[in-house]
Every structure is written in structure tokens, then in C-alpha cells.
Amino acid sequence: MSATTQTPALPAVREQLALRRRADRWVQRLITLAAVVAISLIALIFMFVGRESLPVFFSEEIHKEVTLNTLFLPQNYGIPEAPLPYVWQPVSEVPKYSLMPLLLGTLKVTLVAMAFAAPLGILAAIFSTEFAPRWLRESIKPVIELLAGIPSVVLGFFALIVLASIIQDQFQFDFRLNAINAGIALGLAVVPIIFTISEDALSSVPRSYRNASAALGATPWQTAWRVVLPAALPGIFAGLVLGFGRAVGETMIVLMASGNAAITSWNFTESVRTLSASVAAELAEVVFGSAHYHVLFFIGTLLFVITFILNWIGTVTVARLRRRLAGADR
């Protein structure tokens, strides 16, 4: 029967169908436009931020004050008042733009955050998928995701007033606001991300693995630790990468809780100054077009690129994981 492939004979019906097809095509165009706008906005933001940082690479005028060398390599300023090789002090007679204290500060705070959040998030996910009864599991997930909804300024405030005092009473560090304080608060912001993705990864491991393990005589903990966790490792790794990316870009918590001192050292009990906090604190004051302005945009581009790469790795790994386990679950 060819009735399904031919338009019916009645002209009114044929006209209606043609109209519907045209409307359909217009809606498709509208939706495509929405997608194009969303993607191009992100591309345009990157281009704007990148364009404002280009003078750091190419402009003669800016090179009098700062070059890629001065940003990353140790400097000898030749004056007795400036004895240290890595200094971030842009407002000065001789402006100093070394990014090393900022990069080191960001790294220190992120490492503390991951050291705090990764075990908590992964173990909580294991509990949720392997040991918790169903009713508990279904309430844990939304509650931890509530933690993700806490505004970062509230976490920063908590770290500044409460957490810093607690840590100070316990340990008596020289600096009340330090990398550990900011790192723990940052970890609180990162735990929900790691938990959610690890929980997804762990629950995607097929039932058959657990059943086989139990059949061989393993206890629930042995199954969880030696069978399920290794199987879910790619997904958990993706969660860690995404959490790392979030920690690198987080601004408000570190601005309030880290002390903002641009110290270049591996001592975690000292204050730190992160890339994001520097931009937040200083961008309001810079005069448009100055070297300081372009260096801040350079930092912005750096942050954009780092988090973009991290997010890309994380998303690709999660996609691969889902494909593999969906295929394996036969």
C-alpha cells in the first residue's frame, strides 16, 4: 500500500500537511539558532578575554612593564628594597608582576580542597550505593546536592569567622587565615560534585559484578573495595577532575578565607593569594588599558583555559565510561 508515502488526494488536507511541515522546519531553525547563540556566547567571551590579554604577548608599550619572562621566571630587580625573586606587587614604583605566587597559591588551596573532599565524597558515594538501604540512599543524594546550593559567599563567611577560629584554637599557626582554612572551605564546595559523579559511576557498575563477587564468597566491603570501586574508577576520576576544575575557579571563598598574601612557598600554614581572588580584588581599580589591566585579563584567560581543559577531560571520560558500561551490561 502506497498510501503512507503519497500525499492524499484532497487538496485541503495536502495544504494542511504542507503548512505543518513548514512550521516544523521553522521551529527546527529556531532551536538551532538557540544552540548557536549559546555556543557563540561562550566563544565570544573567550575571544573578548583573550583579546584583552594579547598586549601581554605583542605590545611594545606593555613590554616595557611586563613580559612573559617577568610573569613566570625569577626576577632580579637590582634594587635592595626588592630582594625576592617572585613578587606580585603591581601597584608600585617598579611594578612587579610575577604569577608564581598566585599559581602556587591556587595549587596549594586546590590540593587541600581535593585532599579533604575526595575521600569524603568517594566514601560517601560507596556507602550510598553499596551499604545504605534504599530509603536512606534516596534521601542522601538530594541532601548532599543541597550542599552544592550553598552560596560560596556563605561558605567564605563561615570559613572566615568560624573555621579559622577553630583551626587557630587547635593549632596556633602563625597566620589565622591560611591555605588550610581556605582549602577546607573550598572542599565543602567540591564534595557534592565528587559525590554525585562517583555515585553515578558506582551505581552504573552492573549488578552481575557484585553477584559474581558474592558468589565467590567476598564480604560486602571486599566487593565494594576490590570489585566495584576499580570498575567505577574512570567515572570517579572524571568526578575528581571536575571537582579540581571547580576548585581552581572558585573566587569568593578564597577571597575571604585565605588572607590574600602573595607568598611563594610550599608551607600550607601560611596565607595564600589565588589567581581568581587577585582578579576579583584588583580589577575594579585598574585604569583601562594599563599593563596591570592586561595582566589581569591574561590571568582570566589562563583560568578559562585551565578549567576548560579540565572540564573537557572530565566530560569525555564520563561519556566513555557510560558507553563502555552500557555496552557491557548484557
Binding site: 605566587p101 587565615l177 581599580e285
Partner: protein, 299 residues
Amino acid sequence: MKSRKVVLTVALLPAVALAAAAQQRNVTIKGSDTMVILGQKWAEVFMQKNSGITVQVTGGGSGTGIAALINGTTDVAESSRPMRDAEKDQVKSRRGKDVLELPVAVDGLAVYVHESNPISELNLQQLKAIYTGVAKNWKDVGGNDERIILYSRENSSGTYAYFKEHVLENADYYPTAQTLPGTAAVINAVAKDRRGIGYGGIAYGKGIKHLKVKKDANSPAVDPTMENVLQAKYPISRYLYWYLAGAPAGDLKTLADWVVSKDGQKVVENVGYYPLNEKDRAASAALLGGAKARAKAGS
């Protein structure tokens, strides 16, 4: 017909609202965090007397205010440091007008330490040594054997710039100096840290100890009180400025004239800063008055 009338009215409402907003007279003041409470108090008292004018005051640091003046997003830039020549040139090139520098109050920069600190006075060279990292321990300046913890301001702050220029003599702050967003934050931090030292405007000084400052090892130690600041005995005192683009007109002129008048200066005293002395007040009023008044004042 009826629905069309409704649609027309609703469509015209935003236009009316827009027109009303355009009629509202606004004066924008941005800048120094040291001066923001003073600016807000001035705005409050002024708006009570002149109900048609709205004055908006924001902080952000002297650098922020000056950048806003250059970019044209504010009428007045409050600043706790003098504007640099390069910045004045930028206003001239960006907005086509000369900067009007108006001293509006006087402030002493206080140095704070925790109440339990045995030290009660320091001279300027010792302050420089402390903040540039040459003196790292309190016993180097005659106190206990403990590390000195430095508290400073962000580099957008006029207080930061003033302290760097006049006390550090343009040397760099030591990198361990923690940067805080305002004088109140510095005071809070020093109040919690018995090894801490910080600096900031006098008006906010409550809950910690002010140090007496000596110009050098042989000078007398001076307390940051009003008489000492007004008589220029206290070594670290400064003018607080309003910067305008060109001579003010209209509402802005009314506001500026009031601020340098005796009523406006009374507000300064109430907030806790120090008012201009009579000579400086007359000079500021003359600046605002224009060429004729300037000729009359002979300045």
C-alpha cells in the same frame, strides 16, 4: 476598542516611568573605603535638606573611584590619596575636562596593635622596617619574642598607596602582608591576633590600641588626636579629597558647596574624622566658587 485602550495605556506606562526617572536628579559618588562612611553621612544629611536630589555613595577603594572618574561613571571620586599626574591626564583626554582637586577633610593614619602588646610607640623607620620585612620579630623593635604578623589593605586602596609612599618610602610591602578589604576588617583581624599590626583611618579605630608615632628616634611620640593632626604634629596625616571633572554645576555644585561649608564640616567631626581648618576650608570654597571667588580669596 476597549482592549486597544488598555494595550495603549500599558504600552505608555514604561515611557512615563522612564521620563520620571530621567527627571530624578542623581549625584554619584564613588571611591575610598576610608571615606565611604563619611560620604554616606554627608549624603544622608544633605538629602534630608534637599529632597529633590538623590546622592548615591559607593566604596571600592580610592583607585576604583578614580578609575570611575576617568571612565565617566561617577560625578565625584572620593580618594584618600592625591591623584597622580598620569591619572589627571587620563581624565583630561577621556572626558575633556581638567580635574578639580578638592580637600574635604583631614585624616590621621593610625597604626594598630593588639591591646596586650607591650609596645606603645614606634618611629617611622621602625614602621618601615616592619612592613618591608626587615624586622620580622617584635623583639627587633623592643617587644616580645614573637613573629610580627602584618595586616595591610588591597592595592586598590588609597590608604595602601599613602602608607607605601609616606611610610615605606616607595619600597614594597613584604609578601607576607595579608590584604584585607577595609579598615574595619584590619581592625577585626588585629583584635583577634596578639602578634598583629595593621594600619588604617582613625575614624574606625575601636577595640584595639593605637600606637603613638615618632617622626624619628629622637622626636616626641605623638598620639593621633585631633589637635595633633590639625596642628600637623602627627607624622602620618593626610587630606581626604573629592575629585570632580571640571567645575561643578547644578546639584553637584550645591552638594559640593554644602560639604565644604561649616555644616558639612560639622558632619566630618561627628563621623570621627577631622574637619579642615579655617584656612583650608576657605581655599576649598574658593576652588568651588570659580574664577571670581578665587580672585577674591587671592589664591
